[in-house]
Symmetry: C2
Subunit: 225 residues, 2 copies
DNA sequence: AGGGCGGGGCTTGTATACGATTAGCGGTCA
DNA sequence: TGACCGCTAATCGTATACAAGCCCCGCCCT
């Protein structure tokens, strides 16, 4: 009786395993370079090796895991250079997402974005800090969904989780600053101003990059910023 | 003696199966919406179901396959809208790739691009038409590699194959026109002109979009073009 | 003492087996 | 005649089994 309708909504073990391993990587519970031994992961999660293997392949395609045939899988290593490279990609992708969101916005879409911001505000006020990172990702993802480009969304989902990974690794918390920028982006989208929406999204990611660079203590790229 | 060095260069069945299924999808041998039955694919390729399953998950993450739990996997359907959406993503991503390639170019990198163009020219002259599509993809991918952004490359690889899929489905051949644009892009990159490289890459994708729209016989989007 | 060599354990790659669920079909009853 | 019900075949989800390769350690030889 629990699942009387569409059977397609069933969550398979593989899906849960994938989400769980990814969560552990993004949160840092699984350290960079750490070996992912199929047997142990399977035992740890109480499943057999098969779902674990399928998960590892997907996570490898997403860039969270590195697989070397006959040697094994490890959590990917994220050098400072690679982390910074991500911001370039984000500016391009999220700029496009914001532009399309402004173009294709609907009242429901704008409302949806506001609701995520509202939830985030509550979470901040109640001190649910670890939830804030997830809500941050949710907001960016919601922008992508409002943009209504399915392939863009397919790419954005792992990209944003990777971004979250970068921040969890560097322990760089951007604080309330970030949410003001979100709000500003939300307004531009709701107003349907494509140029402004893109500009604000790009500026937002650029600010995140500066925050990241400060956190890792190297200002080599923009010494006169 | 064939494999005396690094074992990591070993190609597993799963890799070959993934490449083969992807190739059949991109080439159209596997039609959109066609069911991918694990048993049959396994028998067809002479392997067991396990490598096939892992392949299907990866292809789903790349957007070539749609998986519904307990129902099965099918080749993804590519509506005209989704196909066109891809061009937006490509303009953003390939524009960035071209810009970064111009910024980080090296003599070897520029030479590499020229070599791909040379090979393509030969292929065109010798009438190896089905190879031309692959070389087209190779060129775009090479631009990404010269850009030297690992995550960008991770995203570009399936994206470009998806683009190739779109063209193989619409039977839109762009012909020598495209290669002039490649050459022009290559020069801008070699010259290190970031703005020009990005502009030419974007223009190239925009031209491909027009070609696509013409091929599917709907000019609704840009009626006055 | 140092370097090659072989064996054992661990881990991955692949195959097979079994249970669970779905879709499709035919029969039955109103 | 049409709709509902149960059955069967097909297929997926998961677990288990076995084979093959890799790493590491100790031994032996020089």
């Amino acid at each position: 009786m629990t699942d009387l309708t569409l059977g397609g909504t069933h969550r398979t073990l593989r899906d849960e395993v994938t989400a769980e391993i990814r969560r552990r990587i993004v949160s840092g519970e699984l350290a960079q370079g750490e070996r992912l031994i199929e047997d142990r992961l399977a035992a740890l999660l109480g499943v057999s090796r098969n779902p674990v293997r399928e998960s590892i392949r997907v996570l490898a395609a997403e860039g969270f895991v590195q697989v070397i045939p006959r040697i094994g899988a490890t959590v990917a290593r994220l050098s400072a250079e690679e982390a910074e490279e991500l911001f370039d990609v984000r500016m391009a992708i999220e700029g496009l997402a914001a532009r399309l969101a402004a173009r294709k916005r609907t009242p429901q879409g704008a409302e949806r974005l506001r609701r995520v911001l509202e939830t985030a505000k509550e979470a901040v006020e109640n001190g649910r800090l670890e939830q804030v990172a997830d809500l941050n990702t949710s907001f960016h993802l919601a922008v992508g969904e409002v943009a209504g480009n399915s392939y863009l969304n397919l790419m954005m989902t792992p990209m944003l989780q990777r971004a979250q990974w970068v921040f969890s690794q560097t322990a760089a918390v951007r604080g309330p600053h970030s949410w003001t920028e979100h709000l500003s982006l939300c307004e531009a989208i709701a107003a349907g101003d494509e140029d402004e929406a893109q500009a604000r999204a790009v500026a937002h990611v650029a600010a995140a990059r500066r925050s990241f660079l400060t956190a890792i203590g190297r200002t080599t790229k923009h010494p006169n910023d």
